[in-house]
């Protein structure tokens, strides 16, 4: 493993650190061969349907605004923070249940965020003073435990000395200031923002361990892994006396400080936790579990066993696995009979596109025809190899794209898909093509596109398999939603597009 340069101000961009790509079209085998031989071609786009900002979205003003005793400051013109108000406009109450999860948030507590709102004058003359004032005001008003500063392209071009301001101001405020340097224009991989956040957390928040705790693990889960899953896993581990220190969403500042004391770190979203997990391993020797996610019964078992080894709870865990399995396996067997051979396509971030198929294939007997991860990198090679083992070596389509609906529309009908599971950014267009499916993933305030009940999206752990199955069952039995939608929708693509090569816009790295 390459050493993470924590002495630097900025995390290295993902392209450089993990060889990340944002475009690819081919089969799993081809991708593995290409990436291993270093002969990746056409892994960027000359034309793109979608894009997001490394700093204002991915690095996490959205994420860190959920830290209940923290305040977010975006050091930028007003526009950079607009995403945040959009995401958090409904407030945080939909996630009030996370109160149990973290002990932090109270229902209806608003997210607290500031924008330094850079003006033309400040861009010319520098805005270090304004940033300093914003920090002091935020500290005085809210008495937070942490203040998260996010930089922007503008502050980067101006060259404001953010770390200098932090150093100068830290003594005057009660909160720990965490500057996250992420000038979005630096990288073509927006997930680089996750690394920027991890870099700053490691540098500014994580404290030296006072003690090593065998009864606590770090559960690293971005919002895409929603509260019900996190709560369920925490309860499950709680049964054998293991506590979960969950970061980043809805955590409290102390959760970040004590990351160094855990028995191990587990990634529920390996894309988010890649940098932080490895950093904790590098700096404090905390084992980082990233290859196995608790999706599907077999993987949940492996996941629990791995944690048990790190916590010294093997016996208790075997008992727990036995009990949990007994409760769910008979019902899963029944489902497998119904769904055997159903052709499924998964389009989502790394977590679900590379790990959810374990449930779909292993537990439900479905056939994986393709995946659409948002990005792919050297870290994910092992995940893809595991998927090939899962399908018994049967190859499948890999389309690396961050919800590029234009490209997906092109091939989805030709693929003969029975069930499409996708992110909210892509499912709409797929449904409009008459392909039945479900939205995977949840966003703040909008819980789920189709159902709003609490249990609908849960997937992880043993009971998560059943919960998700119930949800899938609805759409498999009644695909009329996509049928009706496609019958009454005029699609924006010309017929000629469907005959073209979907990779026309893919180019060698820019």
């Amino acid at each position: 493993m390459k050493k993470l340069p924590l002495e630097e101000k900025v995390a290295p961009i993902r392209e450089r650190r993990t060889g990340a790509i944002r475009a690819y079209m081919g089969t799993a085998r081809q991708l593995l061969a290409d990436i291993k031989s270093g002969k990746l071609k056409a892994c960027d786009r000359a034309f793109t349907n979608t894009w997001t900002c490394s700093s204002s979205i991915m690095a996490g003003p959205i994420r860190m605004a959920t830290v209940s005793d923290g305040v977010v400051i975006m050091h930028s013109p007003m526009g950079c923070i607009s995403n945040l108000s959009q995401f958090l406009a409904p407030g945080l109450q939909p996630h009030e249940e996370t109160k149990q999860d973290q002990g932090g948030y109270t229902p209806n507590q608003p997210a607290t965020y500031y924008c330094s709102n850079l003006t033309e004058e400040e861009v010319i003359f520098g805005a270090e003073k304004k940033l300093r004032e914003t920090i002091i005001v935020a500290d005085k008003r809210h008495h937070p435990k942490s203040i998260w500063i996010f930089t922007s392209c503008v502050s980067g071009i101006m060259g404001d000395d953010i770390e200098g301001v932090v150093k100068e101001t830290q003594a005057e405020v009660g909160a720990t200031i965490v500057p996250i340097r992420c000038e979005a224009f630096q990288s073509r991989i927006c997930q680089w923002g996750h690394d920027s956040a991890g870099h700053a957390i490691l540098k500014y928040l994580v404290k030296k361990p006072e003690k090593k705790r065998n009864d606590m693990i770090n559960m690293m889960a971005s919002t895409a892994v929603w509260a019900e899953d996190r709560i369920h896993l925490a309860e499950l581990l709680g049964k054998v006396g293991i506590q979960c220190n969950t970061v980043p969403d809805y955590a409290v500042t102390e959760s970040f400080r004590i990351l160094s004391e855990a028995a191990c770190s587990v990634a529920l979203c390996p894309t988010w936790s890649d940098y932080l997990g490895k950093g904790l391993e590098q700096e404090y020797g905390i084992p980082y579990v990233r290859d196995i996610l608790p999706l599907g019964t077999a993987r949940t078992e492996q996941w629990l066993r791995k944690i048990a080894v790190h916590c010294g709870k093997e016996e208790e865990m075997e008992q727990l696995i036995k009990e949990e399995r007994a409760a769910v396996m008979p019902r899963i067997e029944a489902l497998r009979k119904q769904w055997q051979g159903m052709k499924v396509f998964v389009s989502c971030g790394i977590t679900r596109s590379l790990h959810l198929p374990h449930m779909l294939v292993n537990d439900f007997g479905m056939e994986l025809v393709g995946i659409n991860p948002f990005e792919f990198d050297e870290e994910a090679i092992v995940d893809l190899e595991n998927l090939l083992k899962l399908t018994g070596g049967k190859d499948f389509l890999v389309h690396v794209s961050d919800c590029q609906t234009l490209e997906m529309a092109n091939y989805i009908k030709k693929l003969d898909v029975d069930l499409f599971l996708g992110h909210r950014g892509s499912v709409g267009f797929i449904f409009k093509h008459g392909v039945p499916g479900l939205r995977v993933g949840v966003a703040y305030g909008s819980r789920h596109g189709l159902r709003r009940d609490m249990d609908s999206g849960r997937q992880m752990g043993f009971s998560g398999v059943l919960s998700y199955a119930r949800y899938l069952d609805n759409v498999i039995k009644n695909p009329s939603f996509s049928e009706k939608l496609s019958a009454h929708t005029r699609l924006p693509f010309k017929e000629s597009w469907y005959e073209q090569d979907p990779t026309v816009n893919m180019v060698d790295p820019l």
Binding site: T119, E121, V123, I124, F125, G126, A127, I157, G159
Partner: protein, 286 residues
């Protein structure tokens, strides 16, 4: 219609001295001249104002309390009358090491235009004295369409200044294609020996440019700078004053548009070496 002239060149080469003295020489002939310093250090017009430092455009806008007021600065506060009625203005900018000076130049010049400063002054000549090299887009502002139509580059026989001039030519070619400023010629400064003259001439020949005037080292010039005046004012009968009068006359009439042929850095280095060899062979004495 004012003749708008941009003067570029490596930092410390004497641009402000040349521009101020040229402005003074043009004004002496009775024309209305405006000189705008495009450098945060704001000392371009100093010797036209008897050594006085004037408030800059950006200093003045700093007084604005609101964004609305920021763009509605009163231009009369930022333009000052200097020697022979030359209208002086300085863009100004942030303190060293902070903020974005390039953006400052963009804003200052846009402001002058928006606020009708040029209509109000109605000059025959506008001379922009621009910071060192074109370090970023902001300092290229006077090169862009509709601002400085003619560009002069100040060079000396110093290789680093020729290197900078070569780079400037690259920027001029780029902006010239879009209808921006065109190169009118090179002004050679500190040329006191035949060898120095030969070096800049060779450079001009290689880059297909042209040296329009050679300015020798001059004690009067150095003294007038110390005094905070131009030689036109402090030593009007000196030889050097006549050099500037000659330069002013050429600039006033010059219509040529040069498309320079800048070279890549290694090629320039190679030229430097061969230039030295030729000089040694030709036996030009200092």
């Amino acid at each position: 219609m004012a003749r708008e002239i941009g003067v570029y060149g490596k930092g410390g080469i004497g641009k402000s001295t040349i521009v101020s003295n040229t402005s003074a020489a043009i004004a002496e002939k009775g024309a209305k001249v405006m000189q705008i310093g495009c450098d945060p250090k704001a000392d371009s017009t100093n010797s036209l104002l008897d050594g006085r430092y004037i408030p800059t455009i950006l200093d003045t806008v700093l007084e604005a309390d609101t964004v609305r007021e920021f763009r509605s600065v009163d231009v009369s506060k930022v333009i000052f009358e200097g020697y022979r009625g030359i209208i002086c203005a300085e863009c100004g900018g942030p303190d060293p090491g902070i903020g974005c000076a390039g953006r400052g130049i963009i804003t200052a010049i846009e402001l002058m235009k928006e606020q009708g400063a040029f209509e109000k002054v109605n000059p025959d000549y506008v001379l922009y004295d621009v910071l060192g090299d074109v370090v970023c887009g902001g300092f290229a502002m006077p090169l862009r369409q509709g601002i400085a139509k003619q560009v002069y580059i100040v060079v000396s026989a110093n290789f680093a200044s020729l290197y900078a001039a070569n780079n400037l030519c690259k920027a001029i070619v780029r902006f010239g294609e879009r209808g921006g400023g065109k190169l009118a010629g090179l002004i050679a400064n500190h040329i006191s020996t035949p060898e120095e003259k030969e070096i800049v001439n060779e450079f001009a020949a290689m880059t297909k440019t042209e040296v329009i005037e050679y300015i020798p080292y001059s004690r009067e010039l150095a003294r007038s700078d110390l005094q905070g005046q131009t030689v036109i004012q402090s030593a009007p009968d000196s030889e050097i004053a006549d050099v500037f009068r000659r330069l002013a006359a050429k600039i006033a009439e010059r219509e040529q548009q040069i498309i320079p042929a800048p070279v890549q850095a290694p090629e320039l280095r190679k030229w430097g070496q061969s230039c030295l060899e030729r000089l040694q062979a030709s036996g030009i004495k200092e």
